[in-house]
Amino acid sequence: MDYNFLFVVALNGLVYGSFLLLPTLGLSMVFGLARIVNFAHGQLYALGAYFTVELIRLLGSYWSAVLVSPLLMVLFAVGLERLAIAPIRDRTEIYTLPVTFGLGLMIVGGIEQCWGTAAVLVSAPAPLQGSVTVLGNEYPTYRLVAAALSLIITSTVFAVVQWSSIGLQIRAVADDREMAAAIGVNTDYLITMVFGSAAGFAALAGALGAPIFTVNLGTGSSVLLDSFLAVILGGLGYLPGSAVGAFIIALAKNIGSAYLSDWSIAVIFGVVGLTLVIRPQGVLGRGRVA
């Protein structure tokens, strides 16, 4: 067995996992807090990457594009939430599925109109274009730096949810929306804000990942499915579970497709689907959200 190959594949998996973290947490949080199943979430990731491409052209610098793209996305997503999702808040949560699916279609159509169907390539910023030696294997520097950045941002999100007063409100709404509203939490505002920031984090992941993973029309859909698998495995709405789920899915996908080719993804979907039937709270979930 070639351990070097396995090592590189696993490292790729870990890098992908740390990118998957951001969209996964967003998806999980939006479901836990607002009971919105966001089928447009992957497209928000993809749109973040396309925004970055356009912003690099406009601003000339990669890092400023990475900063501005998520901010634009927050504005965009807040508008989206106010216009399309807030009007159906009183209906059963299942209705958020078709609406967000429609929104996803709109974004895909928009992307096709603006950027065409060809894959878009972004080159990594100049100082990070080289590679470093990890245990005797050459590995691109940018991947490690971007993965580290993504991990730092994720930790910050966890810290905010766990220790800040806004995080306390978020957890209160996730626990019991009516009760939280009764003691004075502005739930509507909070849901919109969390939806917006979840989209911003997805876009940030898309922006940071653009030089690593090629961006095309299928990107959004594949990111969405992967983060969904992660969220289900970890328990819908349970953030630490979702984080672990993201790494499990990323590793399983990378190692599986390296050794078992196309069958691995069928197995992953089968396992996760069965998980949802047997243990709806997820393998790691504890039966409560956020």
Binding site: P87, P98, F101, G102, G109, L236, F269
Partner: protein, 334 residues
Amino acid sequence: MRRDVVSKIAPAPTAASLAEAFTARLLFLSSMALLLAFPFLGANEFTVTLLTEGLIFGIWAMSLDLLAGFTGLMSFGHASGLGLGAYTAGYFAQHVTSEFLIALPAAEIVVAVLAVLLGVVVGRISGVAFAIVTLAISQVLLQIGIAWLPVTGGMDGLIGVPVPTLFGYKLESGESFYLIVAVILILVYLALVRLANSPFGHTLQAIRLSEQRAAAIGINVRLHKCAIFVVSWLVAAIAGTLLVFMKGGTTPMVFNWYQSGYVLAVTMFGGLGTLLGPLVGAIIVTFLHDQAISLFKAWQFVFGLAFVLAVIFFPAGIAGIAIRTWNRLWESRC
């Protein structure tokens, strides 16, 4: 027996309600006649083909309506039944016989076995979990379609499925195939209307309104959910069989979750729980799609927008609008 009880409670029919029922039946019969006569009314070949596709799509949408509309189980993997029907019928036609009346039951048997096995599992869940598990099922089938090269042909799919025959007569012309599709559509529609109005259909409605309440009055909820899941897949497989013969093949992309979302969108656009709504919706969308892709590149944008607006503002779909207009018409007359 049930009917006797109802007739004792229901008021005697008035002249107005009889006239309404008569008009409805007349409208239905004439539209069926129009449907069957369509290719002979001077329509060109392309329109006939497009309508054939629309009718197949309509059968598929009606099969989803059984789950999403009647039972309240929003499936996000309804491409599974269609794709499975397409693959098995296509494979059977390639390797055994392309006689339609043998290939269709053969596909149905395979789909039934799988649907029963999966139905036992998905009968336990509902809501968002049901949507996601059905999506996972269709993704598993998609990957199997890609990976199981010797049988499915991998990414290329089944190619060169022979032209179907009916009692040995080759259905080569577009008109003859159209007629088969139209007849099957009418039979499926009538059967499903009967199913919807049967005690079984009413039980499904009870489950949709509240699973707990249905269980409390003694309904075996899991069994009913499993049963309607199987029926829905069987009807979807009919559409799949017709599709594979129409296109002369299929690719794994038939299982794509976008297809599942698409058929759900069309079913909701037509009007959940009305059967006729999803059918009409599917035909309309097929023709609109054909018009739209020649007009602008971003057809998905327009479709997505229309769909979002429909779900927010017209949750009852076009059938809801039609029913409201119909009722208003009869109220103002009488």
